[in-house]
């Protein structure tokens, strides 16, 4: 097991996204000779900054860099590799149809002031209580997300029993009241919970956003509140420069540990025999890289249903992967602008992050459209203006709007054609123009990527950003019970992407947990 393959690698990581690079850096740190194989010419996956027009770039397909695990930053000394963090989430400007704005500030007191100006002092006070409640849960949630999910096969026995007991005790340490409240609110729909706290539509819509992004659920879908609680408790320190800065630091950390990183290297097949992984075969030429350890950061459905020889995968397991739900609901529109984008409600202010969405009802209606495979009348926009903090991403005086568009169906009725893509682009521009008049005159170029396009470019099965829904049934036993602890039934093959615990978003969690499990298993085998 410890022997390297013929061409000298002790581990191969498929995919050079943030999780693949994290896993590689951990493996390298443990002294393994690691190869990272990335299909695309650039590293980073959905965290990769993209130049979509000469001179205009984004900080990543997604732009939320507030959830990277502190543990990973420390373990891999990412600070030493050029990463710097700000201690809180960046402010976000929430926009509504009546031309109002609400700035969610990293400092709860700042947000409270905004809420008071928009609504009332009572609403602001409740926001304070809301944040206080979430911070009481934080320790437990972070612990839950950071530990390995239970193994159903040996539930409650041996060491696992001990872990489970400790988690149970941590839960009880929340106190009877908060513990019961957590049990109550986790399976709720987030609209019900936010309605218990607040009256202001714009505030509720703004808070709901991150919990719905990427998934096939609306604010009235039960189970969405768990995502809200997890997000609120797990996000904090933010990477300066966004996802692309994180990718740079991870790459340096992996290389510093001796990892070999190849781009333009598409894995076509995972080779295994007698239940044991032997290496990977690359596309175009059939180059084989042998390795007793393969970690795949791809969507688990791609790993099991495409990269492995289907006939050799246990039928029942294959069925479980087929049933793993994930149907993309996110599109991307990048705009190159020759003038800064100005929001009518905050004319004098530099805004880097903004969201539209006037009310939970508006969000739900947008979800309805996706559910019925249509384009929503009012798409919901999650806007990042990356040049604000990194002027190198646009020519001087110019600007970039990198926009995630939510509730856009992967399986649009009639399919995605150039015309439908244009339609989506126009819809996004006309929607954004309502909040930022003059926008369309300043557009010098645009890129529109449907969920299907994202699927193709980033290798996301059915275009799902999180490699599978964040739904209650797919959260802790993710993606299937036998693979929930990153090892798979094929010896030496591990999953290390967003399809594993704790799921998608730029956390580096799955990569670090998977690598730690693999290193430990290797050590135990001697």
């Amino acid at each position: 097991m410890s022997a390297a393959g013929k061409n000298g690698f002790q581990a191969v990581v498929i995919g050079g996204g943030h999780n693949g690079l994290t896993a590689a850096a951990y493996l390298a740190r443990a002294g393994l000779r690691v190869a990272v194989l990335e299909r695309r010419p650039v590293l980073g996956g959905i965290a990769a900054g993209e130049e979509f027009l000469p001179g205009y770039g984004t900080a990543g397909l997604v732009h939320d860099a507030s959830r990277v695990w502190g543990r990973v930053v420390k373990d891999l000394d990412l600070g030493g590799h050029g990463l710097s963090l700000t201690p809180a989430r960046p402010p976000v400007l929430a926009l509504d149809d009546q031309g109002r704005g609400l700035r969610l500030d990293p400092d709860p007191a700042g947000t409270a002031k905004e809420i008071e100006a928009l609504a009332s002092a009572g609403e602001a006070a409740r926001y304070g209580q809301y944040r206080a409640f979430l911070s009481r849960l934080q320790g437990f949630i972070v612990r839950l997300l950071g530990s390995l999910p239970p193994d159903l096969g040996s539930l409650g026995r041996g060491r696992q029993g001990w872990d489970l007991l400790r988690t149970g005790l941590a839960l009880r340490r929340l106190g009877k009241k908060d513990m019961m409240e957590l049990a109550r609110i986790a399976p709720m729909c987030l609209a019900d919970w936010l309605n218990e706290w607040f009256e202001t539509d714009l505030l509720k819509a703004a808070l709901a956003w991150p919990a719905l992004a990427g998934d096939f659920t609306g604010p009235w879908s039960p189970g969405t509140n768990v995502n809200l609680v997890l997000y609120e408790c797990a996000s904090g320190s933010t990477v300066k420069g966004g996802p692309r800065a994180l990718v740079r630091a991870l790459e340096k950390a992996a290389r510093a540990g001796g990892a070999e990183i190849r781009t333009g290297a598409e894995v076509e097949r995972i080779i295994f025999s007698k239940g044991e992984v032997k290496g990977v075969a690359l596309a175009g030429g059939g180059e084989v890289i042998e390795s007793p350890l393969v970690l795949s950061s791809c969507d688990p459905r791609r790993t099991f249903l495409e990269l492995l020889d289907r006939a050799a995968v246990d039928e029942r397991l294959a069925l479980r992967f087929e049933n793993f739900r994930g149907r993309g609901t996110t599109a991307k529109v990048n705009l190159a602008l020759d003038a800064p984008l100005k929001f009518a409600c905050r004319p004098g202010r530099m805004v880097e992050f903004a969201r539209t969405g006037s009310s939970l009802t508006q969000l739900e209606k947008a979800f309805d459209a996706a559910k019925h495979r249509r384009l929503p009348e009012r798409p919901l926009l999650d806007i990042h203006l990356p040049h604000v903090s990194d002027p190198s991403l646009a020519p001087a005086g110019h600007a970039v709007a990198s926009i995630l568009v939510h509730f856009i169906p992967f399986d649009l009725d009639g399919g995605w054609t150039d015309q439908r893509r244009r339609e989506l682009g126009d819809l996004v521009v006309s929607t954004l123009e309502e909040y930022a008049p003059g926008l369309s005159e300043s557009i010098v170029g645009r890129e529109v990527l449907s969920p299907a396009d994202l699927g193709e470019r980033y290798g996301l099965v059915r275009g799902h950003l999180n490699h599978g829904e964040h739904a209650l049934d797919q959260l802790f036993l993710r993606p299937t019970p036998e693979c929930a602890r990153f090892a798979t039934p094929i010896r030496g093959l591990y999953l290390c992407g967003s399809g594993g615990h704790p799921g998608g978003g730029i956390t580096c969690g799955p990569g670090s947990l998977a690598a730690s499990v693999a290193v430990k298993a290797r050590a135990e085998l001697g």
């Binding site: 009880r172 049990a183 039960p222």
Partner: protein
Amino acid sequence: MTEVAPTLKDNFPSGPFDAVVVGGGHNGLVCAAYLARAGRRVLVLERRRVLGGAAVSEEVYPGFTYSVCSYVVSLFRPHIIRELDLARHGYRVIPLDCTFSPLENGDSLARWGDPARTRREIARFSPKDAEVAPQFGLAMTKMAAFIKNIIDHPAPDPASFDPGQLKALWGLAKDFREMGPDLMYLHNKLLTMSAVDFLDMWFESDQLKGPMSVSGIIGTFLGVRSPGTAYVLLHHYMGDIDGAFRSWGLSKGGTGGVSLAVARAARSFGAEIRTGAPVARILVSHGRASGVALEDGWEIKAKTVVSACDPRLTFLGLVGREHLEEEFIERIKRYKFRGSSGKVNLALDRVPEFSARPGLGEHLRGDITIAPGVDYLERAYDQAKYGEFSRRPFLDVVIPSLTDPTVAPPGKHVVSIFVQYAPYWLKEGPDSWPRKREAFGDAVIDTLAEYSPNLKDSILHRQVLTPWDLEQEFGLSEGNIFQGELSLEQLFFLRPVAGWARYRTPVKDLWMCGSCTHPGGGVMGSPGELAAKTLLRSRSL
């Protein structure tokens, strides 16, 4: 079949009572029967002139007896039937052998008690689905066995340090583990997934998934694609009539027949039952319930008061805020009702025929569902989400007079139509329901007539019940037929509110026994039974 009990003050027995039960629905009666069986002096007070609550039969038009609200029996617990000797008191359920689902294209699907016959039907739409249907049934049956453990015992409180409850929790954990990883996994999915997503794991044909998925949404304000609806699919596999798994049935004489059998049993154990006795207040002194006051001011003292009403009515109505802590009131206020269903009861001069399967075949003697596909059902839900009743709703229809001639005059028929969605919270507010009642009834009839062309001409009488009517007439807050939504956050140790899921209340000597308590709604009798048994064990009575 309508049976009127003596009025309140006829031969009123002298006190003191050990327990007064507020509400003579099936749960109140079951609770009273168990208390009386244990030798306690019990009085049941029902506001209406008839017993049964929502499990009631009434002769609304001469000669026609309707199961006005609840219309099928499936979950009534067999041990309750045994322990209360209900068969001797007239409990009789006639099994429904078929679920017949006409489709929009003129075809139809019928599922029968006989698996081979069902298989042939499903195979017309998908041979693959026909093949996996028995596997699905087997998995569901296995899981139903675990759920029975849960519904037949009070819910243990995970925050408690009481050794008895910790033991019960440990027992559940052990049972869960013993299922093995595959069933544990499936359970996890069943409890959290949407009915459609869950069915998608087995089936491909929309014609099958539509009719199957609706059992997940009955009585809830959710769609078949809403997470958390899958577990109700199990109910179809828990029906336990005469030991035959998976069967639903009609009570002889209407659903009220169940309540009346329980009432007779309760009386046989010495319980006193009075109808036309509206309770206005639960008397509380020094933090203890001491009896009830009727609307006419008459006070009846008792050691214990057991309320079969829902928590809003019980605490904010009958007890009064002055006896409760602010935090408890808040929790009761945010307990969700949101009724979503209505009922249309018809008297017909002939049997309604369906063009998808002409003639008076066996398929009419079962359950008839208008649920011709998943998208149809989701569209019906989408309208309700924004405060309108569904223009083309999901319908669950039975024609009880075909199997039970006692409910209609010879040659005539009664038809019971359960309708979803009829949201209590209409855009214009719940009080606009009386103005919309008939339009709602028309939408229902129009929808059904698309499948049954001779329906409209054969209607003699029609009764339309909206959620507003259910609230006004039956005391169900917001017209919720389960006394509160059966969503995960309001089940098990959280029903009706955390910390008070074991039938006790913050008011000493006041207990709850309605569908708002564990294990929830449906005509199963468990809340009443478990409340009585817990109360007796507590030795406070």
